[in-house]
């Protein structure tokens, strides 16, 4: 891939994406399309425009600027994306930052420079960089090079992946420069996986098993993680199936990520209608008791929580 990837954001000072203080690089674009995706703006591998009604001061500068008449207060999303030609004139003129360009191309050297700024904090906290997204392995060559340069500079490299990638390419290019892999296991039933995530899960599960075996042979540590999505991934059937997989593969540690509904506001900003099948539970934070019940299924099976 000759083109540089789109980066959504490099978020510094993250304490929830691996050990220590980390900088998280969010790639834009993902092979899956999970309906609950908590970074919906990272799904498409193209530049987008977003509108944040909370930031808007109602000055209407943008209405006058837009050459395509794509903006209207009547429109609940404000931007008519069928008309918008992504010229971003409105973003330049907007005084409040309510209109924003989502995703920007970044070269490896710029990315490395931005991450290395935080290196002193990695060093005192045993932190590092986390490649996340979107899906970082969508840009295998770029990812490999970035990981290589950072690792050579002494930065701990963690990759968060949905697992949908070509194993051999990953092993050849990226694996040598990775210290830790967070690997999502979402849904065990392939049909249901396809329904909610857009693709079936065979490649993902196969990749997981192969990487986990590598880990047991002294390879890179890998931690399977499961987002708890109400009535989709947190069902007894699904969790039991995951636990069976873990038993087969001798997995003794995992992480559960309780559901939160913050992504729904982000959907609105980039013009995505809420999914029709998101029920009441999708509008609320997952209750602590429900999380405890889920965790217990694992701990009863002798699997520890990270």
């Amino acid at each position: 891939m000759s083109k540089n990837p789109l980066i959504l954001e490099i978020k510094g000072n993250s304490l929830d994406d691996g050990p220590g203080i980390r900088s998280v690089v969010f790639f834009k674009g993902c092979p899956l399309s999970c309906i609950w995706c908590h970074n919906p703006e990272s799904k498409k591998a193209i530049v987008e425009i977003s509108f944040d009604s909370n930031e808007c001061v109602g000055c209407n500068t943008c209405l006058k600027t837009c050459p395509d008449n794509a903006l209207s207060r009547e429109n609940p999303f404000f931007i008519d994306r069928t008309r918008c030609n992504l010229c971003f004139a409105c973003v330049t003129d907007c005084p409040s930052g309510a209109m924003e360009k989502v995703g920007r191309e970044m070269t490896i050297s710029v990315l490395v420079e931005k991450v290395l700024k935080d290196k002193p904090f990695f060093d005192t906290s045993q932190g590092g960089v986390t490649f996340s997204g979107g899906e970082p392995t969508l840009y295998m060559l770029f990812l490999a090079e970035a990981a290589k340069v950072l690792k050579e500079k002494g930065v701990h490299v963690l990759i968060e992946t949905c697992g949908q990638f070509r194993y051999e390419t990953f092993m050849d290019l990226v694996y040598p420069y990775v210290d830790l892999i967070y690997f999502d296991i979402k849904i065990m039933d392939s049909r249901i996986h396809k329904k909610y995530c857009g693709l079936s899960n065979e490649t993902i599960l196969e990749n997981f098993k192969r990487l986990y075996r590598k880990f047991q042979e002294g390879g890179v540590e890998i931690l399977p993680r499961t987002p708890l999505i109400p009535d989709i991934t947190d069902t007894n059937e699904n969790l039991s199936a995951i636990i069976s997989l873990f038993r087969e593969e001798n997995v003794n540690k995992t992480q559960l990520m309780p559901y939160h509904p913050l992504w729904q506001d982000k959907n609105q900003k980039i013009g995505i209608k809420p999914p029709s099948n998101s029920g009441n539970k999708m509008g609320e934070w997952m209750e602590g008791d429900r999380v405890k019940i889920c965790k217990k299924l694992y701990t009863d099976a002798g699997i520890l929580m990270e």
Partner: protein, 989 residues
Amino acid sequence: MRTKNYMNTLTNWTLRLMAAQFNYRPSLQKYLNSTDGWTNFSIGLKTENGTVEQAIQFQNGRVKVLKYIPDHADATMRFISDDVLKEMVKITPNETINLILKNKVILDGNMAYLGAFNYFVSLLMGKRHQKMLERANRQEVKSRKEEYGITNPEFSEDLLKRKNFRLKAETIDPGVKHLTDPYLSQYSLDSFPRIKMLHEKHLHTTPEISAERPVLLTRWYRKNGFEKDTNGNPWFSEIRQAHAFQYLMENKKPIIRPECLIAGTTCPEEVGVLIYPDTTGTVIWGELGSIDKRVLTPYFISDKTAQELHDIFPFWAKRTTRAWIHEKYDYPFCQKIDERFVASFNFKLVSISHTVPDLPRFVNDGTKAMIEEVRQQIAVLDEGETDKLNTLRSMILCLEGLNSYAANLAQEAGRLAEKETDLKRKAELSELSRICRHVPANPARTLDEAVNSAWISWIGLLMENTNVSLSPGRLDQLFQPFFDKDMKKLSTKQEKKQYLEHVLELISCYFLRNAEHHALVPDVSNYLFGGSQSETAITVGGVTPQGKDAVNDMTYIFLKVTEMLSLSDPNMNARFKLGVNSDTFLKRLCEVNYITVATPSMHNDDAVIEAFSQNADKIEDLRDWASTGCVEITLSGKHMSHTGATSVNMVAGLEMALNNGYHPLMNWHLGPKTGRVENNDFKTFDDFFKAFAAQQKFIIDNTIALNNMSAEAYAYLRPTPLLSTAIQGAVQKAKDVTKGGAIYNTSGSFNIGLCDVVDSLMVIKKLVFDEKRISFKELKEAIDSNFQYNPSLHAMVLKKVSRFGSGSDEAVEMANRVTSLIHSCYKSTKNFRGGDYTVGFWSVAQHVAYGTLSGALPSGRLAYRHFSPGVTPDASASKNFLDNIRDVARLNPRNMDNNIAFNVKLVPAADDSREKIVNTMYSYVKTYFEQGGMQIQFNMVNSDVLKDAMANPENYKNLLVRISGYNAYFVNLNKDMQIEIIERAEYRS
């Protein structure tokens, strides 16, 4: 000028009614009298537009109303409009002073007499005044609960639970000789029932105004004269002060508090408010009848105390630092600026003793040796060196006075021991009696003797010097040799454990003793310096004068006591030397900060020493620095540093630069004419920066002029011979420290609103001059209207310019340009003692007070809102806390030799482990220091908890918060300050 109107008649009637009451009711008339005779003074009242002019004259027991203001009126209140005068009738007398603060009433003249006048008004109003206050109180409580508060009892419980889990130390520092777990994780307040009881009692005691000190001193001065002695010869000030001090110490009530392991108190009250009538004491004259009912920090006051103070205040009204300057320099311009409270505030008028005295001298050598040293100095004086002789004699008198007090304590302890039936306590009291017979006269031999010696000496120093920011310094260094020696005498493990527990109790008692006295907070200061106490700064850690790791057993003992008691005073500070002090030590500082929410404050030795090296050459002295008051730098025991001399509102200079020298809220054209935005006078950004620099220089020059007069006032009114024995150089030079006796002589400034100024200058530079997106006039119009009519411009200034703390090189450069400017303004002057000014960027609580007195700014900050505290970037600067850390670390320490305050609010996630919380904090601090950062302090609490505390203060009596440099109990803060802390940026940790 308008002619007189009906308000004039109304005012005349009201004053005549008042006069009649005092003239015909003997019960009131008696208040016009004091031991000195009739209290004579006159107060003028007028409006700026001339609609009203009246005066009331208290003369030889008669009250007269005059239809003009006499030339010699002691004070005149100028009301900015008729409406303000009407407002004044509706409010309580104590609130009058707040109208002055808000510049709605301008006071010319002697503030003490305004207090007297207010007190007379409150006497007339009687119960009605108290009822008004009670109503105001209820409204305030209701507003906190309903407008801001939330209620969730789990929050306060969760906060308390922090104390239940404690980490163990991973390694042992080289200086730790006896502690097996330096974190002392096995102990909590519950391990010490006696301390727990004393602590509870302390937190539930309302402070009481203490009349002991001023009454005894005034009695002595009335008898022996102040300006002249009984023979009519002018007093040599040091000798006068020393005799008065000796009288005070001999007659002060010796008190040993129940269950306390330390003898002596600063006052007879359980928790007392000390009064210094020659500086601020008379400010509460107007509040004598109402101080127990006021909304913020109410004090208990007995009728006897109120009467005693009313009797002595007339003696002091013309002998305060303010009155002295007014008289001597004919009400100088610089004083007029100061008394408007907007551009600067001279703290020296309150206190001169923000310093760290040589406590080791009292403890290690004792007063006998100190007296002997002074005698030897006397012996080598040449004939005719009378001033030197008197200076040295005054020192001896003070040290003897201190010894008399210790002897009285010994006697009292003996008396109590005899009466005591509990055998354990009886033994403790006998031991205290023995200790007080030995120290501070002789060198201490045990830790108990050392701690008592330090405390008794401290009482002496506080009886002489205002209890604001006098700081004991590096107590872990002072006490460690005694602890080490005591421990070595013990052989069994059990004995050592018991002794360690005794030491934890002893140091806890020491903390509680330090917390027993409050600094006097007149109602006006509740708004200027809310929640601020004595600011007794203790410093632990760092390196020895030889550069070795100074962390020792006592360091960790002090930290344990800090953790257990969570007191707002003493103010705990810790030094950290990279490459020398251990990570174990730094992690412990972080854990204590997390458990207590807000203490200790942490300093980077390298940056502090680099900053201060411009004022001292000797590396050994620099390495022996200690925090003073809030965060400031004093070279222990050698340095009259008055680190909190004067504060400057840098935003006022900016507002004046935008208005050609005129200040809108003051409605006063005080500054130089530096150009008008409206006339397009500024062609480049540098043109404007020059105007800004000229206004800053004007303000700083004036505040320095006043500060130097104020220093002169001290040298006459209150030289400090006892303190002079405790700062090296004064005995050798035979010169009082108020006159330059110390080895090092600096005065410290604190400059407020840095980030608001920098962000504003960035907006002007970027949007007006570099990018030309808006015109300066357009921006000025928006500011003048508080951005009311131009929301898109408001959004633009807030969003489109990189702020300090966002990682912008340009903003950091601007910040260093501003600090460099301020630094050079101060460094081009000298203080009264011939020393340099030092320059600090911390704000006590004045970022809130000055904020309420400042209009809207180019940065987008709206009118009357608080500024950002200290050097802390505005909450909007960046979502990434690391950007804040990096930018603050890039501030050049050479411009900040009176230190900084960098306040950070961190909020750990609910399920984070203690290790994760501590390790993350540690990483922030360590990296910040590695990058050159000077000082950092955390508030480890989220806004919801603070809002619960606002609504349910009874559950949070012990909740500490860092304001800017100092700690306070959150529930004691004024509403604006509570909101400021709630609105601070919150970073996940």
